[in-house]
């Protein structure tokens, strides 16, 4: 870990301003991912701006019947929120499928969205990784990549985004609210927060330098049942091999791409009357597995069909 300086932000505006002014600055809230990465010097911030105590943890209804979740709300608080559990159960189920109770108590909503990949080659700094050092190459591409992406990957990066919460948010058509260093607020869909890797896998999100996520906003839930299913090697505290969030006719997949993957082709097929199995098969026509992760194609097919059935049963 490299020496760094630290400040506790006094307001969201001040935090965003400070982040833009200080070279190498990073926000820190729960730190559950950032500090691990700092210990390995994968992240080497010169300055940390602590946003964990800003008044951004409220969970409150919106005028249009949705829910606004403050960026600093803990994962545990969101998962346990009565409104979330009643109206957005897919979100609650997704959150408790991630990490461990200790991590969820500490981790924030924005931090969960911005967690970095769990690709083992990203973590082993003796191996080439285009995320850590652009142009270095990708050790995972020809490596032990059983858990690599099957959608939207590139030769430069086959890593997945491993948030569970984000998959549910994408299925729910949630939006991110962010504040720029110049004090400009903006809002955009969570599905547009993360980039596909392309040739620049080190560029991971839509956020500009210093821009601070202040909230996630859920529209009213879609009609129909909701469910979240995650497949993993271990029953708890394990990254998924694949996951699926279903909210009515809206479907998103996790751990299959560099971002939470909205299954638009499957949704279109469902809307047109296809069976769940037919619908997910349509989505998987676009999958490009690499060999060791071939199993993810039938896994996603079976998991998604079962989850849609399950959600329909709950609707």
């Amino acid at each position: 870990m490299r020496p760094f300086t630290y400040e506790r932000a006094t307001s969201a505006e001040a935090a965003a301003r400070a982040a833009a002014l200080t070279p190498g600055a990073r926000f820190i809230a729960g730190g559950t991912n950032l500090i691990d990465l700092m210990k390995l010097e994968i992240e080497t911030p010169a300055h940390l701006i602590d946003v964990s105590r800003l008044p951004m943890a409220a969970i409150e209804p919106t005028a249009v019947g949705g829910l606004r979740i403050g960026a600093a709300a803990s994962n545990s608080a969101v998962a346990a929120d009565a409104t979330v559990r009643a109206r957005y159960p897919v979100l609650s189920e997704a959150i408790v499928a991630g990490g461990s109770p200790q991590l969820r108590n500490k981790a924030s909503v924005a931090g969960n969205l911005l967690q970095r990949t769990r690709c083992p080659y990203f973590y082993d700094t003796t191996k080439p990784c285009n995320k850590r050092r652009p142009g270095a190459g990708c050790a995972a591409l020809e490596g032990l990549n059983r858990n690599a992406a099957i959608f939207g990957a590139s030769r430069a990066c086959i890593a997945t985004h491993t948030s569970d919460m984000a998959v549910a948010l994408v299925a729910l058509d949630a939006r991110v609210e962010a504040l720029s260093p110049s004090g400009q607020p903006r809002s955009f869909p969570v599905s547009e927060l993360h980039y596909l890797p392309g040739d620049t896998p080190h560029l991971e999100t839509e956020l500009i330098p210093g821009e601070l996520i202040t909230a996630v906003v859920l529209p009213p839930p879609p009609a129909g049942g909701q469910t979240y299913r995650k497949v993993r090697d271990r029953a708890s505290y394990a990254g998924g091999l694949a996951s699926v969030a279903v909210a009515g006719g809206q479907v998103a997949l996790g751990m299959v791409a560099h971002k939470p993957w909205r299954a638009s082709a499957a949704e279109g097929a469902l809307a047109a009357g296809a069976s769940p199995a037919e619908a997910i098969a349509r989505e998987l026509e676009g999958a490009s597995p690499l060999g060791r992760n071939d199993f993810k194609v039938p896994l996603v097919a079976r998991l998604t069909a079962a989850a849609i059935d399950d959600a329909n049963g709950r609707g």
């Binding site: 490299r2 191996k127 090697d233 271990r234 029953a235 079962a306």
Partner: protein, 754 residues
């Protein structure tokens, strides 16, 4: 000539008058551990502020270091020293012993420019704080001339040779017996590399007091650690005082010391101040030994009635190019089942991977994963209950050497386990039971693990206040050594448990071999019993010979001990009154145990049975353990709580071996894929469901004077196979390539049309 018959005499452990032996006494050091006040090596308070050492691991698996730029690290804040092979203080050449009877030779750190495995410590930074040392360690720049690493085990099976000094063991004519058998099973199983993942990484704190090196470290065996350090840094053995008082897990991985100890000692010497060094979690994976992968071919040939006619287990495994460690996965089957025609053996491949070494139940843990599944397959082919198949092949004597069993209750373990578990509710046809989305199945397996007694000493002191102090160069790696030694002392001297103090983990105490091979309790405990018996005699003689004692002039062998009071009929006094008056400095004796010379006339093993119920999600291939029950026969149990904890811990490890634990090798780099506990998957609470271990009443009078045997490794033997058999019973898919992860099981489910 010492004989097991010398142990026939009665003793307080056997008579267990106060009922302390076997009782679920709480852990002696439990309060210290749960309150965080037990000082593990890294947390011991040194006499002056310590400096902090951090190791840097090699980024290649084979080759040479061609350059070391340490200038930036040296200039980094707080840095006190930066070493590579170019400037590390002088150490004795590897393996040398200045003292011919040292139990370990020199193990120099940063030895030379050669890199023998990925992650090998190749540089070392010492700074005033841990943070400064870590920061500087990242500034050490090494350049390498890398060789292509020779690490692809499965690709090199053809090069496998006999382990040194070993031969295949054939009895009868295996080939003919197998060929003629009415029913055959011929399968190949693979088990992966596993890491120990002890909660406490290897760590050391060393300082010097004059010429004397005071070393606190985390190691299972005290004497080799002390001797090895002395040999490495070139000082007399008696000048190393090595302590390992509390150990956060060993599992075989701390059967030796590592460079943390050597470098802390060299640093302390060079800087003249205490130095502490710990492995990081990531460094533990490569920097310490691992359980090597195996390929096991099992062939079973049986008659229609289930009688085994032929049995063969051949194991291929690997070790480091500089080593000879062999995972003897085939050995256990030699004592397990009767079969007239038998062939067993091992083949070893040497690779540029880190050193392979012992891990909990070395041999059995891997080997049962194949044989006990092959038995399940054979039972199915025969249309027999797998339990019945095992009972039909129960030998009357050790089938390999004809020796009588000292005690063998395997069949009772099988039968009682079946009854307690509800085995009769198992449906032999797979895939018939559903619970919600889960397919449910049951599996079972037998367990066996050897029992050992090694030479050990122990001293007992009775202090003037009546406290009995047990002193022994033994270790407690979380297994309960402190507690069972206290129980043995309390029962032997008939004092309350609170009147016993146990001091272990110290090279200046009477030597014991430490913890490993599930020999710890039997070995250390027997020496303690011997010391206790000698102290009883010494106390009796002291009292009867002391004119001031009410027992004066009585017969020493008529002295009775109870509740801290000694008596001859109605004449009595407290131990403390006697010692205060007659031996004001305390009374100390030393006891000793050695293996009986005729012990080899018996086949002495521990046994058990495992019963497991799993759920398989037929959609995803996920497996979750619902219930595990083990029934074990392992001699007299000293402490029901710590023994049960050992057994269930082993069972859970077995479940992990079947389902999650593995460290794949990236053959391009010669490194393991999983380098932390988020990636290397040991079970969490949610993985296991119910787990219980039952211990049968047993006394094995051929094992040692107390009739106890080991339980530390037995639980791990067979548990994984029972899980795999339950998976098959649940869904009809057999996966022979461990662990049984969802991707592998899914392929089988799809092939079945599920």
């Amino acid at each position: 000539m010492t004989s097991v018959h010398d142990w026939d005499v009665t003793n307080p452990v056997k008579t267990n008058r106060t009922g302390l032996i076997g009782k679920a006494v709480e852990r002696y050091e439990g309060p210290l551990k749960v309150t965080g006040t037990a000082p593990y090596a890294y947390e011991v308070q040194p006499p002056s502020p310590p400096a902090y050492g951090v190791m840097v691991g090699a980024a290649i698996a084979a080759g040479r270091i061609t350059g070391a730029d340490i200038a930036a690290a040296e200039a980094s804040p707080g840095v006190l020293a930066v070493w590579t092979h170019l400037n590390v203080p002088k150490q004795a050449p590897r393996g040398t012993k200045a003292h011919p009877r040292s139990s370990a030779g020199s193990r120099p750190a940063l030895e030379d420019e050669r890199v023998a495995y990925f992650g090998q410590p190749v540089a070392f930074v010492i700074a005033d704080t841990l943070e400064n040392a870590v920061a500087a360690s990242h500034l050490v720049k090494l350049t390498y001339d890398a060789d292509a690493p020779d690490v692809d085990f499965l690709a090199r099976l053809d090069e496998a040779g006999q382990p040194p000094g070993e031969q295949d063991v054939e009895i009868g004519d295996f080939a003919a017996g197998f060929a003629a058998a009415a029913v055959q099973v011929d399968g190949t199983w693979t088990t992966p590399i596993q890491n120990h993942c002890q909660m406490e990484p290897c760590a050391s704190l060393v300082w010097f007091e004059g010429d004397k090196c005071i070393a606190h470290t985390s190691v299972q065996m005290v004497k080799p650690a002390q001797h090895g350090l002395a040999e490495t840094i070139g000082i007399p053995r008696d000048n190393v005082h090595l302590m390992t008082r509390y150990i956060g897990g060993g599992f075989g991985g701390k059967g030796q010391t590592y460079d943390d100890l050597t470098l802390a000692a060299l640093g302390a010497k060079a800087l003249g101040r205490p130095v502490k060094v710990a492995f990081t979690r990531q460094q533990m994976m490569h920097g310490t030994v691992h359980r090597p992968a195996t390929v096991q071919r099992v062939r079973l040939g049986a008659s229609r009635d289930g009688t085994l006619d032929a049995m063969s287990m051949m194991t291929w495994t690997h070790c480091h190019k500089g080593g000879n460690f062999t995972e003897h996965a085939s050995n256990f089957c030699r004592a397990l089942y009767a079969a007239p025609n038998r062939l067993t053996g091992h083949r070893l491949v040497r690779l540029d991977l880190p050193a392979a070494g012992a891990m909990r139940a070395p041999g059995e843990a891997s080997g049962t994963m194949s044989l006990e599944c092959a038995m399940d397959e054979l039972a199915e082919k025969l249309g027999l209950d797998p339990l019945e198949l095992r009972i039909r092949n129960e030998p009357a004597v050790d089938p390999e050497n004809g020796r009588p069993f000292s005690m063998r209750q395997l069949v009772r373990c099988l039968k009682e386990g079946a009854q307690l578990f509800g085995w009769d509710r198992r449906l032999p046809t797979p895939g018939q039971v559903r619970d919600g989305r889960w397919l449910v199945g049951m599996g079972m397996a037998a367990a066996i693990r050897g029992n050992f007694l090694l030479p050990a000493k122990c001293s007992f002191t009775v202090e003037p206040d009546g406290t009995i102090v047990v002193r022994q160069g033994m270790t407690d790696i979380g297994t309960g050594t402190y507690t069972v030694l206290a129980q043995i002392a309390a029962e032997t001297l008939a004092v309350p448990l609170g009147q016993v103090r146990v001091e272990i983990g110290d090279s200046e105490l009477p030597p014991a071999p430490g913890s490993g091979g599930q020999f710890g309790a039997a070995t250390a405990g027997s020496a303690a019993l011997m010391a206790g018996m000698k102290l009883r005699t010494a106390i009796a003689e002291l009292a009867t010979g002391d004119p001031g004692s009410p027992l004066h002039a009585g017969a020493p062998d008529e002295v009775t001990f109870q509740d801290g009071v000694i008596a001859i009929s109605n004449r009595s006094e407290t131990l403390s009154d006697l010692i205060r008056r007659a031996a004001p400095d305390g009374l100390t004796v030393e006891g000793e145990v050695r293996p009986a010379q005729d012990a080899q006339q018996w086949s002495t093993q521990t046994y058990g049975s495992h019963f497991v119920e799993v759920g398989v999600d037929p959609v995803t291939g996920e497996v979750r353990v619902r219930r595990m029950l083990g029934v074990f026969a392992a001699g007299r149990i000293l402490n029901a709580a710590t023994a049960r904890s050992q057994l269930t811990g082993g069972m859970i490890w077995g479940a992990a071996s079947a389902l999650t634990e593995a460290n794949p090798v990236d053959v391009r780099y010669g490194s393991f894929l999983n380098q932390d506990l988020a990636q290397y998957l040991v079970p969490v609470q949610a993985d296991i469901g119910e787990v219980d271990a039952i211990m049968l009443d047993e006394v094995d009078d051929k094992a040692n004077p107390m009739g106890i045997k080991g339980v530390g490794e037995l639980g791990n033997s067979g548990a994984g196979a029972a899980v795999a058999n339950a998976v098959y019973n649940a869904c009809g898919v057999r996966v022979r390539d461990y662990p049984i992860t969802p991707d592998k099981l899914l392929a089988g489910l799809i092939a079945q049309g599920r």
